[in-house]
Amino acid sequence: MLTETEPAFHQPLLKTPFHDRARAASRVDSFVPWSGYTTVDVFTAVEQEYFAIRNAATLYDLTPMVKYRISGADAARYLNRLTTRNIARLSAGRVAYTVWCNDGGQLIDDGTVFRLGEAEFRLCTAERQLDWLLDAAIGFEVAVSEVTHEIAALALQGPTSCAVLRAAGVAAAERLKPFDVAAFAWPGLPRAHAEVLISRTGFTGDLGYELWMTPAAAEHVWDALMEAGRTRGIRPIGSRALNIARIEAGFLLPNIDFVNAEHTLRVGKAHTPIELGLAWLVDFEKGHFTGRRALLEQHRRGAPRQLVGLDVEGNKPAVNALIYADRAGKREVGYVTSATWAPTCKRNVAFALLDAPHFAAGGTVWADIYFNRELQWERRMARARVVERAFFNPERRRATPPRDH
């Protein structure tokens, strides 16, 4: 744990409550820092882990995800003023994906709001931002505190994930609909930390759950899931496999697809939710929220650019590619933020931020792709079609109760 007296940079990276299990399961010893913790990049091989997400079940340690406890009489009003969605309409036991903006309507972060009670919420974010959350609390009767270190979190994702939960003795979790959250008593744990919160949420676009528990319960839950999933192909995964799955699912990653507007230095580097293709998250009718006036103005005038999905010809991922309106590469109209070969869709996909009017669905643009063939760089201008960002969106993601895959 961090201490008051010692600055954080003197400390080695923290270990999550799952660290010993992850260390034991790691075959290639590939760890990377994430929000002050050391976490696994790859356990065995990226492809193997990715296909487990789509065909079996996977465990991913998301303890380093920043978590805030938000409680108090004004908690719902506070979150309504902070974020763009109508939190007043979020009932207890539900989760909402949302974004929040600065005064200019530009994105600070995205995350999930868990309504755990009438005046009890949890906000999961990519980055630490207690200063912004506290300033947003001025004038509201609300307490905001960071609880990242107090909660161990594990994502259980993949088509067999529900079956694994059933086998682990929490069959009641099968009744959770997407974005439901509920507390379950985990079998075999002492009463003091037997309560595990399970939400039907995830970052893979597949059937899956996220489990939130006390650090003391972490290893027991990990072991129980690995045991219950033995015949269902369960394996732990690292961040790289997850990254392929999230691009396939159309999910944005902070600092890859957008930058926290409060961290940008140059004009034009911050983005509004409308520009990021997240206009569906913005509720102009719910009353005031930070950035509303600026967003309303952009909503009226239309966005000058938008983040869209690209279906790129060929099999070379359009990583870091500039986008042109013409094959000759004379008119630059945008750039790629994320790109991958999507193994399940069998498509070459990317997210690209395109200038108006090129972001209109169905349009054609050209991606200037550089790729390396045995150390030699080559370049290819690939035709790309503007499409919906959710490339992978299976029916099993929504079915309740999930089928026994």
Partner: protein
């Protein structure tokens, strides 16, 4: 507009404009709004109009200008335009009041007008230096005056009126000429200490001149930016020479005259009507709710309350963006000036000071170092045992303020922190003793003639005049809280982020000090935008 007038005539509670607060800025704003044909209601929480420009009894038979005690910043053109000058509405007991620098162990030095012989006794070269200094600063003050009168143009939008205003200001400054502009840029952000040390020899003179740069601020003479605060004060007068004046009946008489002007223009004024909150409907100001529960509708609400009260208390942060609330919260607005009122049985005698000097302003700030040392205490939330005073004896010019033969002393005590580090009651006694000790040193025997005493700390000023932080200017007057950034970007054009809500108080450009320009500029902005 006429619809509201008709509704008002039928006795329904609906106005075109509601002005919150009947301080001088609120009243001036109301006058201009009413003159533009709007129905205007002014709501004042106190029993009488005036805000911090108010005269009240502080001991039986003794009355005093309870907060501001001199009139010197309100432009003559504004007074005339409001009809205060020609119709005799505002009678002055004294104008062009002299300033005299007191020194505990030396003869007082008359400054306005300057006594060349007395000054020469301190320093021969300072006589010529003073006249050159006044000419030099006067030139810049006149150029700055145009800035004070201007609604700060917006920089982020492409609009011709804003660009034109910017060009006009640039032209105004450019007209100073190359050498002067260079000089202004050189001294503009520097400390008054450095400027005065570069210019003068006499400690007494430097102290007195420095006092005007730091009076009412959170700065010492060595603080950067104090030449700016001095120029700002000079600019408000429209010229280099401060024309200090004292209305008959105190500053409250000014407020009464302003209230008459407003009423004559058609505005309705209600006192003892405290606004509890501003009503917002569809992201627009729609009226106010009074503490009594009464709701009054209006399409425009103009608040002369300080920015923190207006935005955080009356409006509520739920109607504002987080970044804006953060800026308003960070606004430096803690007062550092206290007010001392003495009821005196006899006319005080300041050693060596003439009767003429007593009719003006007496400054106890005998050297730059004396001021800076007093400021040191303030930095650590203490008051100085050697306080700085701006003293007036208003009954010399206006005997009506006290029973026959008796007198009132009104003094600003500079560097009394808003948040004193220690307990309050013992502090108040110790502070009072320190101030009286300093007075006694300049005016022996004065303490024996005290019949009653009132000391208003910034906290008292906050409570009595409903100014959060108890700061004269509502928000610190400093380069970083001036013009485009006063009170904060997003509200520097008198317009709040919520449509239909405006600010017109001292927390706006160009600040307080009974200047009135904020009130007039705000009214201009309202009429320009609704037109």
């Amino acid at each position: 507009m006429s619809e509201s007038r008709d509704a008002a005539a039928r006795g329904e509670r609906r106005y075109d404009c509601i002005v919150i607060g009947a301080g001088h800025n609120g009243l001036i704003c109301a006058t201009y709004l009413a003159r533009s044909g709007r129905s205007v209601l002014v709501l004042e929480a106190a029993e009488q109009v005036g805000g911090a420009a108010v005269t009240r009894e502080f001991a039986p038979g003794f009355r005093v200008s309870a907060c501001a005690h001199l009139l010197h910043l309100m432009p003559a053109a504004l007074l005339q335009d409001l009809g205060l000058a020609e119709r005799g509405r505002l009678a002055l007991a004294a104008s062009r009041m002299p300033t005299t620098a007191l020194a505990p162990e030396a003869a007082p030095l008359p400054l306005d007008p300057v006594d060349a012989v007395a000054l020469a006794a301190h320093s021969r070269s300072d006589v010529a230096a003073l006249s050159a200094y006044r000419q030099r600063l006067g030139r810049y003050a006149r150029a700055l005056h145009a800035v004070l009168e201007t609604v700060p143009p917006r920089l982020s939008v492409q609009s011709w009126p804003d660009r034109l205003a910017l060009l006009r200001l640039a032209w105004r400054l450019r007209r100073l000429g190359r050498a002067q502009l260079r000089d202004l840029l050189h001294i503009g952000a520097m400390s008054v200490w450095d400027l005065l040390e570069d210019t003068f020899e006499s400690e007494l003179l430097k102290g007195a001149l420095a006092l005007d740069a730091v009076l009412g601020t959170n700065f010492g003479p060595r603080s950067p930016g104090t030449v700016f605060t001095l120029l700002h004060r000079m600019a408000a007068c429209g010229s280099g020479a401060p024309a200090l004046a004292q209305p008959i009946g105190g500053l409250g008489a000014l407020a009464q005259a302003l209230a008459q002007s407003a009423q004559q223009a058609g505005a309705v004024i209600r006192t003892a009507a405290e606004v509890e909150r501003i009503v917002v409907a569809n992201d627009r100001a729609a009226g106010v709710v009074l503490r009594s529960g009464e709701q009054i509708a209006a399409s425009t609400v103009v608040s002369s309350a300080d920015p923190k009260t207006t935005f955080l208390t009356l409006l509520g942060s739920e109607h504002l963006d987080t970044g804006f609330v953060r800026r308003i919260t960070h606004l430096r607005s803690r007062g550092l000036a206290a007010k001392l009122h003495l009821a005196l049985g006899t006319l005080p005698r300041f050693v060596g000071a003439s009767q003429q000097a007593l009719a003006g302003r007496l400054l106890l700030a005998p050297s730059l170092e004396y001021i800076e040392r007093a400021f040191n205490h303030a930095k650590y939330r203490e008051f100085s045992p050697a306080p700085i005073l701006e003293i007036t004896v208003p009954t010399v010019n206006d005997p009506s303020l006290a029973p026959a033969g008796k007198h009132v002393l009104s003094a600003v005590v500079q560097y009394v922190p808003y948040d004193l580090a220690t307990a309050e009651e013992s502090d108040r006694r110790a502070l009072t003793d320190a101030v009286l000790g300093a007075l006694q040193a300049c005016a022996p025997g004065i303490t024996a003639s005290i019949e009653a005493l009132e000391l208003l700390t910034p906290r008292d000023i906050e409570r009595e005049f409903r100014v959060r932080g108890g700061h004269w200017h509502h928000a610190e007057l400093a380069l970083d809280q001036f013009f485009w950034t006063r009170p904060a970007p997003g509200a520097a054009q008198y317009r709040a982020p919520v449509a239909g809500l405006y600010l017109c108080g001292a927390g706006c450009h160009p600040g307080g000090g009974v200047m009135g320009i904020a009130g007039r500029n705000a009214a201009r902005q309202v009429t320009r935008e609704a037109a």
